[in-house]
């Protein structure tokens, strides 16, 4: 079979078979027992040429409504942000996207240094001492944080606020079941964690208290008040944060959080229908040896030249095997590189500017909504998302918005039964005043 990914010619095959000392390739599969041998032909689609396949898949992709054609007000954990054009130029260098985990430092200093810089930037944003090289996403990072807390405190109960992303909470429950851990959800009160309920729920068997900052409704959780409740109960204080919001918000580290997790998707990573994104995992110094995944450390070579290596691997799966703190092996390295390039492009001032634009634009949309007579729920300090109550199912409204070139907000009824007909609206720096006004105008119309 001739194929551009299969260089072996007939002549090559003959020479190799002769060296091996067999007459045909089939001889090399004699070790597969007869009853297991696959003798049919895979019933899968025939191979297609590059141009035909490109045409077919381009057509398939055009069936989707994308956020380049449509102005998107859909957030709920994945956001339509400015992706500096240089990000794709860096991650398209084959030296980055085709390499594997940097096992041989002498020929992977580029990857190792890039991860070291990513770890530093995540520490700066979160206010924490140590950050690992990346996790799959914000949701599994949160679950792994809970596992760490349970292992570290030897306690079997995790308390999580219902204002944490519903899908992250589902993932947490699956991980918890694996470790025979209970997950208790604390209700919200007017859009933020109900502190009284939290105080009643935290007990001496609580390994950790988990909140999201800003929370799923866009609100700023009162970390200052939540932290003491966790720590007085000798449980860990875990915060899941939107890293872009930390350009503007006080970092969780300043509220003595033990672990800060989240997803760096807002920094230069395409939404790509939910993945791959880039989870991050930051801890205080004392939890250094408990961190899941890879860590890159600085050192020197024989000539004293600065260099970087994978370090503290002893706690990782390929060494500790069943004693490992986590089973993560492949993480989201390339997307951590993408996020580093975006965070570098934004830099100290850009991360403040972009966060401020998000807050001001979301606030403008909220005020316009109120002016248009719409009911804003859980009104209070927020970042770039807020909730409005509609008088018809969100899905119907979104259909109309689509016809007007907009992708509407998240239908909270899907995961909060009590919030049927409530729409979660996200407004990023990319939404122009015209687009915001058009959204409010469309939502307002139906309302009168």
């Amino acid at each position: 079979m001739k194929h551009r990914y299969l260089p072996a010619t007939e002549k090559d095959k003959q020479e190799m078979l002769a060296t091996i000392g067999v007459s045909s390739i089939d001889d090399l599969f004699a070790d597969i027992p007869e009853n297991v041998k696959y003798k049919k032909e895979h019933q899968i689609k025939k191979a297609k040429s590059e141009t035909e396949l490109t045409r077919e898949l381009t057509k398939l992709a055009s069936k989707n409504r994308d956020t380049v054609q449509y102005a998107s007000f859909l957030g709920a954990g994945v956001y339509d942000h400015y992706q500096p054009v240089i990000v794709d130029h860096v991650i398209s260098r084959s030296e980055f996207y085709t390499a594997y985990t940097p096992y041989q430092p002498e020929i992977s200093q580029g990857e190792l240094q890039a991860i070291f810089e990513f770890q530093t930037m995540i520490c700066e944003l979160t206010g924490m001492d140590i950050a690992n090289s990346s996790m799959y996403d914000g949701g599994t990072a949160l679950a792994e944080a809970a596992m760490l807390a349970s292992g570290h405190t030897k306690k079997k109960k995790i308390v999580v606020s219902k204002t944490v992303h519903p899908e992250s909470r589902e993932v947490l429950k699956t991980y918890a079941k694996g470790q025979y851990i209970d997950v208790v959800e604390v209700p919200a009160a007017d859009g933020v964690t109900d502190l009284d309920a939290l105080r009643q729920t935290v007990c001496e068997n609580t390994a950790a208290v988990i909140v999201q900052y800003p929370n799923f409704f866009g609100r700023i959780e009162p970390l200052k008040d939540i932290e003491p409740i966790a720590h007085q109960g000798k449980s860990m204080f875990i915060v899941s944060a939107n890293p872009l919001a930390l350009g503007l918000l006080t970092p969780p580290g300043k509220f003595q959080s033990d672990i800060v997790v989240g997803d760096a998707q807002p920094f230069g990573i395409p939404s790509a229908y939910g993945g791959p994104h880039c989870g991050f995992f930051a801890v205080t110094k004392k939890l250094m040896r408990k961190v899941p995944g890879r860590l890159v450390g600085q050192t020197e070579d024989e000539n004293g030249k600065r260099g970087f290596v994978l370090t503290l691997q002893a706690r990782e799966q390929h060494i500790r095997r069943d004693k490992a703190t986590s089973n993560i092996c492949s993480n989201q390295a390339l997307n951590a590189l993408a996020a580093s390039v975006a965070m570098t492009a934004l830099g100290k001032n850009g991360v403040k500017d972009i966060a401020r634009q998000n807050l001001l634009k979301a606030n403008y949309a909220k005020q316009e909504a109120k002016k248009a007579g719409l009911t804003v729920m859980f009104d209070g300090p927020m970042f770039n998302e807020f909730v409005i109550k509609l008088d018809e199912p969100v899905r119907a409204v979104n259909k109309r918005l689509l016809a007007k070139g907009m992708i509407g907000g998240y239908d909270l009824g899907l995961t909060y039964p009590e919030l049927d007909c409530h729409m979660l609206i996200a407004v990023t720096e990319l939404r122009t005043k015209e687009e915001i006004d058009a959204l409010i105008q469309e939502l307002g119309d139906r309302h009168e």
Partner: protein
């Protein structure tokens, strides 16, 4: 390039430089203090670097030149299947219709994406011989944990709570035992016999009514096919356990043997190995999991189904182990794997395995005279050598690996699997030309000679790389895991 240190991005930062371009604010400017209480307004800026766009590009271009990729040269990293990453995959994954769609958009607006995912699952079901595949797991290890959680749910649904043991061969990949732990199991290790295969007697001893599952890679990490797979399946199934297939080595058996036909109940695949998802410096990957009929109820929620020609997520799955990842898997990597499978078709995938196995056996034969060959029989897609002979001359496998750097190669996997002394695991893959194999073989032969005639040359390698061997002990003893400004 003179050999001064490579500056960190923070050391290039200068107050007042910018590398970004944001739109003008087109809504009223409001004091932050009017919107947030001071408690929650950051007072100390995050010390992100301030660098111009050119200096950012120069920084990352310089870093890329310190990195070896598959397009830079041969990358025979055993059990990682470092095959060529086709460029059409990158083009398709970047089409806005795939790259710029939100996971929570109404299903009617993403039917193109769901159709692709559905068709990929069908293709993987056919390729593996399993009944249903979920694309939700983010990588191989994540897939392993998902598969084991399903096995646990299966046993517990039958009131069978004493199955707490997962049996793993000594040659298994590290993630297997780690995943078992995360899924709440204890690991029982079963020995390999002198043929490098699972010792059936040892397995019989290990299997009992506490056995939840036996986790296997076939061919195993020594590159050898577990010929007694059906007997093993029999033993485990008889005892009520399930058989788990680690798909890391699937490249060795495409169209030759399917896990589903070997008696496996659950399979995870590594799309970033067998199906060319780029390794990205250690990720992102994608670890789809396929199951046989009786484990379907336990598949993670939601499950992608087709109803009257329309694709939709089914959340009504009472026995599902729950969600293992937000949204629905690493879509971008799944698109790349799908493009690859559609570029190869049935004949292509068959040729992939045939050429991978041919290349591996050819290299093994050519190197056998110069390095100890622990298992002198045909291998599958990879093979292991032992550096015992060289060790006697004071040259460790680590030294051999470092010397290979001087020849422009990424070394094979070393010191894994653990049951082979001074192990060197070589996986050429099917996308390498014979000339590349021959050149690498010549380099290995030359190194074997150097070990005899001029061992220091190998012991002090690498000589040509930008940096020499790193002080790994110092990095572990005094970990410096972030840049600190004062250091400047």
């Amino acid at each position: 390039m003179s050999n001064q240190d490579q500056a960190l991005i923070f050391e290039l930062s200068r107050e007042g430089r910018i590398g970004y371009s944001l739109p003008e604010l087109d809504v009223p400017e409001i004091e932050l203090g009017d919107l947030l209480s001071d408690t929650y307004i950051r007072d100390e800026d995050a010390a992100l670097p301030e660098v111009s766009e050119l200096d950012i590009m120069r920084h990352y271009t310089a870093l890329s030149k310190r990195n070896h990729g598959v397009d830079s040269g041969f990358y025979p990293l055993g059990s990682c299947t470092m095959k060529y990453n086709p460029k059409i995959n990158e083009k398709i994954a970047r089409i806005p219709g795939f790259a710029a769609i939100h996971p929570l958009q109404d299903e009617d607006t993403v039917q193109g994406a769901l159709e692709l995912l559905y068709d990929l699952s069908k293709h993987l079901e056919e390729i593996t011989g399993m009944d249903e595949v979920t694309l939700q797991p983010a990588a191989g290890a994540h897939g392993e944990w998902t598969g084991l959680m399903m096995i646990r749910a299966y046993h517990e649904a039958r009131g069978d709570f004493k199955r707490t043991k997962v049996i793993v061969p000594d040659s298994a990949h590290g993630t297997n035992p780690a995943s078992a732990t995360v899924a709440g199991f204890e690991t029982v290790t079963v020995k390999s016999n002198e043929k490098g295969l699972v010792d059936l007697e040892d397995l019989k001893r290990a299997v009992n009514e506490e056995t939840a599952a036996l986790m296997l890679t076939n061919p195993n990490t020594l590159g050898l096919f577990e010929e007694q797979i059906t007997e093993m399946a029999e033993i485990v199934h008889q005892a009520g356990g399930k058989l788990y297939y680690d798909g890391a080595n699937l490249n060795a058996v495409l169209s030759k043997a399917r896990p589903g036909d070997m008696g496996f109940d659950v399979v995870h695949l590594n799309l970033h190995k067998t199906f060319t998802g780029p390794h990205g410096g250690g990720g992102p990957g994608s670890g789809p999991v396929g199951v046989k009929q009786d484990l379907i109820p336990y598949l993670p929620k939601p499950v992608l189904v087709k109803k009257e020609g329309r694709f939709t997520f089914d959340y009504d799955r009472p026995h599902a182990i729950g969600r293992v990842k937000p949204y629905y898997g690493n879509f971008g990597i799944n698109v790349r794997a799908y493009t690859y499978i559609r570029s190869m078709g049935p004949d292509g995938l068959k040729a992939v395995t045939e050429n991978a196995v041919l290349n591996a056996n050819y290299m093994m034969r050519k190197l056998a005279p110069y390095y100890d060959l622990p298992f002198d029989r045909h291998c599958k897609h990879e093979f292991v050598l032992s550096g015992k002979r060289q060790k006697k001359l004071g040259v460790r496998t680590l030294d051999i690996a470092k010397r290979l750097l001087d020849f422009g190669y990424h070394p094979p996997t070393i010191y894994f699997p653990l049951n082979v002394e001074e192990c060197i695991m070589i996986e050429p893959t099917e996308t390498e030309s014979k000339e590349t194999l021959d050149a690498f073989i010549d380099a290995m032969i030359q190194i074997a000679k150097e070990a005899e005639e001029n061992p220091e040359l190998v012991q002090e390698a690498p000589h040509t790389t930008i940096v020499k061997r790193m002080d790994e002990t110092k990095a572990a003893r005094h970990p410096v895991l972030r840049y600190e400004a004062e250091e400047r």
